[in-house]
Point group: C2
Chain length 241, copies 2
């Protein structure tokens, strides 16, 4: 704990009111789209919002937002550039799309570095697209950001939910606040996830149907906020904030 | 490299003819279902087949096969139990469904341990459900198993393919043989992935349509091999072997 960056991180988040970590125990459940649209929706509600992409293995928010070649300003640290009204920070500002097989400790270091250099300034909400699963990167982020509250994303798939459930159990064991669970990419309604979430004493925030138009609208924020996906998420947001 | 287990691993794989790693740069693309059904299909073709689940973050093959409470025999190492005619080894034989937030080096250690203790004996094919992404666990497995050839699974989603593509580029950089790419969960045909795979000088093994009946058949091998998913994979298998 002698790393001087750890003390800096706390000060970087002093003016950030609420930090929401969007996470899942499993890839492919739409975590990044949920995180990005949650940030856009809060922006549309008049809040000052930041979006931080910590998914080092599959960074996707820059693709979803349709922003590339953003270069942050340096001024006693890094000021996240504005992307569609969001203060936006992602590892891809630096690494772009090169294959980057970071070793575990390199990932931890990169996360500490990113958290230490970024000057978020005043924000109502910072949305974090979390690293996948419950590996080092997730544990490090939890350790470094004590204000974190989780929104957990799953799909109805029993295989996916099984992994998401392991992550929920871990968060509970670590006493990390969980705002609730969103069931995404629903093709056929079933109460399986809903019941289990209730059994775990967690809030089931809502289910979002599979939206065939979503894929084509990624990269174009104007179409994105017109999708059924976004409209459904808009109904769920009051449960989150 | 002084770990005595590293020398043992080589001997454990001496009688294994071909080791196929089923992998993807992104979760949720159906990697585990493809790996499991590939193993079952090779079994149906009369081969001696092993299946090894190294996906520590989201182990799913035991769920797909519908096997639980399998206990391997110990006899100068661990002999993988038979599951539907497959020699089957998974971390879940030991950890079951507890939340297991393994630190990076613990994951590496667990993989080395699993590879060192398992006596595969004579196999025509060993199919490995690989760890997700291109992190430590993937790199370690590549380093430990020099005979590895990759089948890469993607979906048509541009967000997913972007991550898969990074993984392909890394494998190429490391000179790891890639048998080809399977495009899975196809809902609307597009040549986007197919063209890009050709540009990368790789074999496009085929596309597998989204199969609404697949989810319900997971856990029941008899129904699984009757799905359209399995039948399509059956057409692709000759390209792989």
């Amino acid at each position: 704990m002698s790393d001087p960056r750890l003390a800096i991180i706390e000060s970087r988040f002093q003016k950030v009111d609420k930090v929401i970590a969007v996470s899942s125990g499993k890839g492919g459940v739409g975590k990044s789209v949920v995180a990005t649209c949650l940030a856009l929706n809060l922006r549309d509600r008049g809040f000052k919002v930041g979006l931080l992409d910590l998914d080092f293995t599959s960074p996707a928010t820059h693709f979803i937002l349709g922003v590339e070649g953003l270069y942050p300003d340096e001024d006693y640290g890094i000021i996240p550039p504005l992307a569609h009204g969001l203060r936006y920070m992602s590892i891809t500002h630096y690494s772009l799309d090169e294959p980057a097989p970071l070793r575990g400790e390199d990932v931890s270091n990169a996360i500490i570095e990113l958290l230490a250099i970024t000057r978020w300034m005043e924000l109502d909400y910072l949305i974090i697209d979390m690293p996948p699963g419950i590996g080092d990167a997730t544990l490090d982020t939890i350790r470094l950001l004590p204000k974190l509250e989780f929104v957990v994303v799953t799909t109805p798939s029993k295989v996916a939910y099984q992994s998401v459930r392991r992550m929920i159990l871990l968060l509970k064991e670590l006493d990390i606040p969980i705002i609730g669970v969103i069931e995404n990419i629903v093709m056929k309604h079933s109460d399986y996830v809903k019941f289990d979430v209730a059994n775990l004493n967690l809030d089931y925030l809502g289910s979002v149907d599979y939206d065939a138009t979503l894929e084509a609208s990624l990269g174009d924020v104007d179409s994105l906020i017109e999708t059924d996906f976004y409209k459904k998420l808009d109904e769920i947001v009051p449960e989150i904030i």
